[in-house]
Subunit: 247 residues, 2 copies
């Protein structure tokens, strides 16, 4: 039974997130249902990152096994023919047995977009956090530097997540501005639930001047979620890419 | 009674266009209704370009008169408080008596976006025309050159438009590609109904290799709409800016 790796983009607006939920439409359910005509057995589709409701993806990666002969390109076309335009398979590839979209991933890259101007462009309303107060991106950049490396990010985790360890390694964090658009991009070996949105919430506290850049290191060290900033809204977040070791 | 100039951005998806229609929601009706609490008299709002259903704007310009004292900034804020997030007043200014958004305009700039790849990104589904066949943008650029200048664009007009003259002057036409995105941008002293979408439809015929670049000049000269290409879909079109003589 061959294993396939799918690269998927989606506009998360209006969906309950990647993972199947009792109510509402999930990306996972859409992709699994689109597989149905291709095989007699139910297909389980696993994603690298279980994005939350309203979070977008440019390069989510999912893995699945199909017990019928099909080329990767035919698989991508068959799925896209059944998926809504808000969800697209950008690429498909056959991968070695044992490939698992989540466990095999070496690095994930998330991008968070902030619209920092008085008026939010209509085209950004589902894809950026509207922050009207002027942001000091230099202060945000200075603060973001301390995030790189191996840290216990318990202070950045959604309440009641219950994972085994809250230690993660961030490889790179950048803060860039182009006119009104401020982009925070993070790559790391893994992310706790709401971790990017909580980190961005803290960086915006610093950008607004409510906290000095040095506050962030202390917040991380405290391991105390209740001392953090607001959780940035879901619409600004996008899973940009997932990287794997070369086979 | 002071006259105000509004610069408005909107996501045209799901609207019937700028102009009030018997059925459906128009941008004009939204803006006029948003003015209601500001004055006792009904306010007429006139736009520079009457964009069609599904067409977007980054810099539509509209003029209106309000018989109550209000600063331009307070006007913009009051309107934005009442408008849906899909419609935003980006800027407001008081202008001399006699300013008319349409008749005073010297130049309008439209941008048309084409997504030229096998798979359409979800984020582009309402903002670009998906053309899968590879486009020869050099051929499109060569063809577009003949459009600059004063021409009778009758062959590019929607059927049954009934305007007095179909002669318009184009100041500039560019065709640019960045990866999958092909952008056609046109500025001119005025545009007939569907003119940009018909011009882009003809350019895409050339880009696909169905017609040689020289075909376009003959098509314009024929003044015959029935000989043209397809009308490009509304979602790819955006009114980028409107320019006026410096007061």
């Amino acid at each position: 039974v061959p294993t396939f790796k799918l690269t998927i983009a989606y506009d998360g607006t209006g969906f309950v997130g990647w993972q199947r939920q009792p109510a509402g439409t999930s990306i996972q359910a859409l992709v699994e249902d689109a597989c149905r005509p291709l095989t007699d057995r139910p297909v389980a589709v696993t994603a690298a990152g279980r994005t939350d409701a309203g979070v977008h993806a440019l390069g989510q990666v999912a893995s699945l096994r199909i017990d019928r002969p099909i080329t990767p390109h035919a698989l991508a076309r068959a799925l896209n023919a059944r998926l809504p335009p808000a969800v697209r398979v950008r690429d498909a590839a056959e991968v070695p047995d044992g490939f698992h979209a989540r466990f095999s991933a070496r690095s994930k890259t998330y991008r968070y977009r902030i619209w920092n101007a008085e008026v939010l462009l209509p085209f950004e309303r589902n894809y950026a956090w509207h922050v009207q107060a002027p942001l000091d991106t230099d202060a945000m950049r200075r603060a973001a530097k301390v995030l790189v490396g191996r840290h216990d990010f318990a202070a950045m985790q959604a309440a009641g997540s219950g994972v085994q360890t809250t230690v993660r390694t961030l490889f790179d964090v950048t803060v860039d501005r182009q006119d009104a658009l401020v982009v925070v991009q993070l790559s790391g070996d893994g992310f706790l639930r709401h971790m990017v949105r909580n980190l961005v919430g803290a960086l915006v506290e610093i950008g607004r001047g409510r906290r000095p850049p040095e506050w962030l290191a202390g917040l991380i060290a405290s391991r105390d979620r209740t001392r953090g900033g607001p959780t940035a809204p879901a619409g600004g977040l996008c899973l940009v890419r997932v990287d794997y070791e070369e086979p």
